[in-house]
């Protein structure tokens, strides 16, 4: 019955965080159709979340992904396998290999521009490069690499998240509102931010950055938008006060 359901039933279970059930369904689907690369990709990926988590499962997933990539590195499953091998090096392995993950993401972006998995790699690369303890000039070189990467991205999620990862790092690590502000507002103006808690934080960030940069009209716009979207937020009363102060200020 599980085999008849095909890989889709496995993805359905995995989407509900039921990795053990998904693993069994993918195994049945692979047995029913050994040529199904989708089922084999599912089998490898579900192993990354099977409980209890073991190094053995991660190693088996790595082998399955390497086999998929070796067979056909340029089809969707092959590129997906390359991406998840990098994710294992970054996140799933009990001994992460940061330089290897960075190299793999760079390679994906160079080899498969516009591909779904390559675009997914962009914000991951930005996180790894920017949240690292390196000298200031090296950090600036990394910022430049991400800034160069952004215009080449096409997927909405990749553009949005790479910009926001960079903006977040500029604020958190350098308090650099001038460079972070346009990155945040580009996402807000295009309505790319979909999660409400994230929208809440970014609207305030944009308003505060605009205020610090002396852009009073923009600060007023973002504060107003914040109050419109989140009128009962615990910061709303203070935002009202800041808005009143800004509105009383003579416009430049």
């Amino acid at each position: 019955m599980a085999a008849a359901a095909g890989p889709r039933a496995g993805w359905k279970e995995l989407s509900l965080l039921n990795a053990n059930e998904a693993r069994d369904l993918f195994a049945a689907a692979t047995e029913a159709d050994p040529a199904s690369r989708e089922a084999r990709l599912g089998a490898a990926i579900s192993l990354l979340s099977v409980q209890p988590r073991t190094d053995g499962n991660i190693a088996t997933a790595t082998q399955l992904l390497e086999a998929l990539r070796a067979e056909s590195p340029n089809d969707e499953e092959g590129i997906g396998a390359t991406y998840y091998l990098a994710r294992i090096q970054q996140l799933h392995s009990s001994a992460p290999d940061r330089p290897a993950a960075v190299a793999a993401y760079r390679e994906l972006l160079a080899a498969h521009p516009g591909n779904h998995y390559a675009e997914m790699a962009a914000p991951k690369l930005a996180v790894l490069l920017l949240y690292d303890d390196v000298p200031r000039d090296e950090w600036e070189r990394r910022v430049a690499e991400i800034e160069t990467l952004i215009p080449r991205l096409t997927a909405t999620e990749a553009v949005r998240d790479t910009r926001l990862v960079l903006a977040g790092a500029l604020i958190r690590l350098r308090r650099d509102h001038a460079r972070a502000y346009p990155l945040v507002t580009a996402c807000l103006e295009a309505n790319l931010v979909t999660r409400l808690p994230h929208l809440n934080a970014l609207l305030l960030q944009a308003a505060e950055s605009a205020r610090q940069l002396g852009n009073t009209p923009a600060a007023i716009t973002y504060y107003r938008r914040f109050l419109g979207e989140f009128p009962r937020d615990i910061r709303a009363d203070e935002v009202h006060r800041r808005l009143e102060t800004l509105e009383q200020k003579p416009r430049p």
Binding site: R8, G10, L17, I45, P123, V127, D132, D161, L196, E238
Partner: protein, 528 residues
């Protein structure tokens, strides 16, 4: 002899009657459950406070009147056994249709056993038709946007709540009038300490055993946290690199570990001093007392005031043989000469619901369960629930009743600084309380103990949070791929598309936070 035979006959007759009655009830229930036109829904919760069960009964009767084919059964489970009861019933496949989530019943282990209602919360609640909330997305009819049912791990909503809570200081109006000649509570910390002095003078003058404040290890930190968090407003906002609002406690700890603030800050000294002064108004060794001890002192008239949550109101009022009222924590004001400089404004409060009802996957009637959930979270039902239970409203436009009005969150002011007395690090602080309160108090020794204990506790708490976040990121990584694949198979499915976009957005945001935390921990480890 005849009498004995008569009693024996009576016994047998009663036994037969009881047997028949039980059989009839069982048969009636079985028949109803097997009747295709009859639905029985069961919902379970742990809210045994005051008149909560009666409030639910009233909603059930209203719903059954609207839907004669539906019968609702309420299962009220004591909180002490609720987590284990809930876990075994949910995982064992024997849970009722609706189960209150929370109190360790939730998270990635439990949510897969519940149905996501993410799609439904963007549509209007049909039971709000004809009211000002008609046409408003169900989510936006909640004062807090349905926060209680949202699972940040799976990015889905698993339930809706009708419970909300704020802490307040309860006071004995009759005793206050007897001591001071008036019934107005203190509004500022200065007025509060003056009142406490009056209470002690009254006790000394009359020989009556009356304390200003009832305290316990549960109630006392509520008040202390409230006062301390006000003192941290300015410092925690200055530590925020992005916006001038307080950082959360994790970033507050990271800043301490990176030597960006110390225990010598006026804000910390202010917070500790406020805790010390409040503790002095409580019974000696109050941290050894449980919640019921404090409640007993208060309802017996042996303490003028006590801090507790709004959900306790009906229980306290029903037990107290005197008039009870409440007031917000008497925090110092920004103009206070001793503590005001650390503050930006009074602590603002926000409505926060908890204990959402989730629909279990094993429910034979998920549509009916959803309908009942929408009914009890409609404006009209919440109004009735609030009136009978004394709980705070959670739905926009619903008015609080009587004493509950004084529990409504007051959003005026500035957000409080980090509250951490209930965290692991907070427990380390409270373990040193013997150095802060009582006759052997030694504030210098208290600070020395904190300097010794805090770094390890903070590091452990931040690292623990980072480990949990990493586990979540790993799980969601595979779940995101699954949704991507489902979306590839159904490119026209807008709901899947929205879900995918949101999952990726949150994953990348959380990954950046995790790497930032790890970087800050590494930087702190290098410091002397």
């Amino acid at each position: 002899m005849i009498r004995a035979r008569w009693f024996r006959r009576l016994g047998w007759t009663l036994l037969a009657a009881v047997f028949l009655l039980a059989g009839w009830r069982l048969a009636r229930r079985t028949l109803r459950e097997n009747d295709a036109n009859q639905i029985t829904l069961r919902f379970a919760h742990w809210q045994l406070e005051g008149t909560t069960r009666q409030a639910f009964d009233a909603l059930v009767r209203d719903y059954e009147a609207l839907h004669p084919n539906v019968r609702i059964e309420q299962l009220a489970i004591p909180l002490s056994v609720y987590p284990s009861w809930g876990t075994t019933h949910v995982i064992g496949g024997a849970a009722p249709d609706l189960v209150e989530l929370g109190r360790t019943l939730g998270g990635r282990r439990i949510y897969p056993y519940f149905l996501s209602i993410t799609e439904e919360i963007s549509r209007p609640n049909p039971y709000n038709a004809g009211t000002p909330l008609a046409g408003v997305a169900w989510r936006n009819t909640f004062l807090d946007g349905m926060e209680a049912g949202f699972d940040p791990q799976s990015f889905d909503c698993y339930g809706a709540s009708i419970f909300s809570n704020t802490p307040r200081v309860y006071y004995n109006v009759d005793l206050l009038r007897e001591i001071t000649g008036q019934s107005e509570p203190p509004r500022t910390f200065g007025q509060f300490t003056a009142l406490c002095r009056q209470v002690r003078a009254f006790a000394s003058r009359t020989g009556r055993s009356v304390l200003p404040f009832a305290g316990s290890r549960i109630n006392a930190p509520l008040m202390m946290d409230d006062l301390a968090s006000g003192q941290l407003q300015r410092l925690a906002s200055e530590l925020n690199p992005g916006v001038y609002f307080p950082v959360n406690y994790g970033d507050f700890y990271l800043a301490y570990l990176n030597h960006e603030w110390s225990l010598d800050e006026p804000a910390l000294r202010g917070a500790i001093e406020l805790m010390r002064r409040v503790g002095e108004e409580m019974p000696p060794n109050f941290m050894q007392y449980g919640r019921d001890d404090a409640l007993f002192d208060f309802v017996q008239g042996r303490a003028l005031m006590m801090t507790a949550y709004g959900q306790d109101a009906t229980g306290i009022v029903s037990q107290a043989p005197f008039t009870v009222r409440v007031f917000k924590s008497p925090e110092p004001r920004p103009g206070d000469p001793e503590f005001g400089a650390n503050m930006i404004g009074p602590n603002a409060e926000q409505s926060g619901s908890y204990g959402a009802f989730g629909i279990t996957r094993m429910s034979p009637h998920p549509r009916a369960a959803l309908d009942f959930l929408q009914f009890i979270t409609s404006a009209a039902a919440d109004q009735k629930f609030v009136r009978i239970s004394g709980f705070l409203p959670v739905i926009v436009g619903v008015n609080a009743q009587g004493l509950t009005r004084d529990f409504m969150p007051d959003g005026r002011g500035f957000p409080p600084g980090p509250t951490f007395l209930f965290s692991t690090t907070g427990q380390v602080i409270l373990r040193q309380e013997y150095l802060l309160f009582g006759p052997g108090a030694d504030k210098a020794a208290f600070l020395t103990a904190l300097r010794r204990e805090l770094p390890a506790a903070m590091r452990e708490e931040v690292s623990g949070g980072l480990n949990n976040l990493t586990q979540t990121l790993r799980l969601n990584d595979t779940s995101i791929e699954a949704v991507h694949q489902l979306q590839r198979a159904e490119p026209g499915n807008a709901a899947l598309r929205r879900k995918y976009q949101g999952m990726v957005e949150t994953q990348n945001e959380q990954e950046a936070s995790a790497y930032y935390t790890a970087l800050r921990l590494r930087q702190a480890a290098r410091l002397p």
